[in-house]
Symmetry: C2
Subunit: 298 residues, 2 copies
């Protein structure tokens, strides 16, 4: 079943449907474009969050960087930066594969569709012209027949008229003969035009338009197949980054698990232990010794 045979009288429907198909594809492209803008904005926000929480590059390595709980935090932040990068990859791939390539393809199809409909309209025009020729030749034949009939009746009337001269009768018969001949020629021309038109009409309905409609159907099916591919890329693009997203998440998990509370509290000891002994007992100071000595001297 094809449009050429089944929808031979649905030129407008085919025109409308193929336009609808192109509009749907452009609607999808617009949808994807807006999705990529959301992805880019999301990635941008994640990146500025990351920037805010990562220390400045040229800051000297200070003590806090030595604690594994701080290193883990930085690692989590860095992995989030990589996640943001993957959102950018999604946005870029959606742009390239759908917004750019599918868009370009749809522009080509628009031209192709336009050409098919131009061809269709040209064929319609030709058939209309052929019909006009037919109609004119038919009208001429009808008119000539009426004239010939009138001339014949005039000749017959004069022939019966006793007052008519022989010359008048002969002239009227001559006239009727000429008119009859002209009608005969118009008939032949009309018959030729009719044959020509019927050939044209048959070619129009059974060859030209079916071919154009079938080309449009084939084009519309190609567009649909390409749209299916475009739909598929929407999830495929996302699926492609999943292994790297998984690695980022794994990296965050590993960073978290590397936090060892014992090691950090030992590090504090290593960094700040003075090595001094704790103070011992305060000794007794015997201020009575000089007195006792003085006392014993006496």
């Amino acid at each position: 079943m094809d449009w050429g045979a089944e929808l031979w009288d649905q030129f407008d429907i085919i025109e409308h449907h193929t336009q609808w198909g192109l509009d749907l594809a452009e609607k999808y492209i617009k949808f994807v474009k807006e999705r990529t803008e959301i992805e880019q904005a999301y990635a941008k926000q994640l990146r500025s969050l990351v920037k805010k929480y990562l220390p400045k590059r040229n800051v000297r390595e200070d003590l806090e960087a030595k604690f594994c709980q701080y290193q883990a935090f930085l690692q989590v932040v860095k992995e989030l930066n990589d996640l943001a990068g993957q959102r950018e990859v999604v946005a870029e791939n959606l742009t390239t594969c759908i917004c750019v390539e599918l868009s370009k393809y749809i522009q080509e199809l628009k031209q192709e569709r336009k050409a098919h409909f131009q061809e269709g309209r040209r064929a319609q025009q030709q058939l209309e012209n052929s019909f006009k020729l037919l109609d004119n030749s038919k009208r001429k034949f009808e008119r000539d027949c009426r004239e010939a009939e009138k001339a014949l009746l005039t000749a017959e009337r004069l022939d019966q008229d006793i007052n008519a001269t022989k010359a008048d009768v002969e002239k009227a018969k001559q006239q009727a003969h000429v008119r009859g001949h002209m009608a005969e020629e118009s008939k032949n021309e009309y018959a030729a035009c009719l044959q020509h038109f019927n050939q044209d009409q048959s070619r129009f309905y059974f060859l030209e338009m079916p071919q154009i409609f079938n080309k449009l159907q084939e084009m519309d099916e190609r567009r649909t197949a390409r749209l299916r591919e475009g739909y598929g890329l929407f999830s495929e693009t996302e699926r492609q980054v999943m292994p790297i997203v998984g690695k980022c998440l794994e990296g965050m998990k590993v960073a978290a698990e590397a936090v060892d509370e014992k090691s950090d509290s030992q590090l504090l000891i290593e960094l700040h232990k003075s090595g001094f002994e704790r103070p011992g007992d305060v000794e007794f100071e015997d201020f009575s010794q000089p007195m006792n000595r003085a006392s014993s001297d006496s």
Copy 2:
């Protein structure tokens, strides 16, 4: 190795480090909070994109909805809505597990830390008071020794003085005896204070402060362990939604693959086929028949 023994003289360091630890946890909570805001904004944008491309609920089911290429588009849009929902789940879980629960835990630790340092300062104050008592008793002993010595020298001087009366000598000796007795009492009191202080000091450095520092270390390690858990939740929350995200992507893929270009172009035929035959040949209209009849009548 513990802080109580190794960092006995690093009160300030321990105070600073435990505060740094709480600050790091709060910094992490703030980071997560900002992340959830980004996720919520992202989800909101995706949802309004979806709303824009889904037809209004109460619109009558029109012809275009019958074409599988349009159904697939709607399905892709709907799956994106579910993806947005998963970003909301991530935001909610991050809020609950990290922003709310970890935050609450950190508030409790702040109170606990404050109590430990109050206890430490109280112990310090007690030791200082004990030292003041020791110092005062030592000064009194020194002063009393000096007075006793002076009284003894005065008595000895009068004893050697030929002009002194016996009463004067006796009075001076009495005085020296009293002073000597007072110095003896001060000595005993100083010795008692010294013993008391040495007990206090030993208890302070070997028992009280080590216990406080160890409690702070234990608290700091608990906080670090909880922070590790919090870091882990960051990726875990993301990982939890991955199966549903995977299902959404699978749903998009299935929707895309369901697009069948042949079926859509057949549907157009079913919807719009008129069933009429294509026009046949136009028949010849013989306007010359009346003329021929008239001609044959004659």
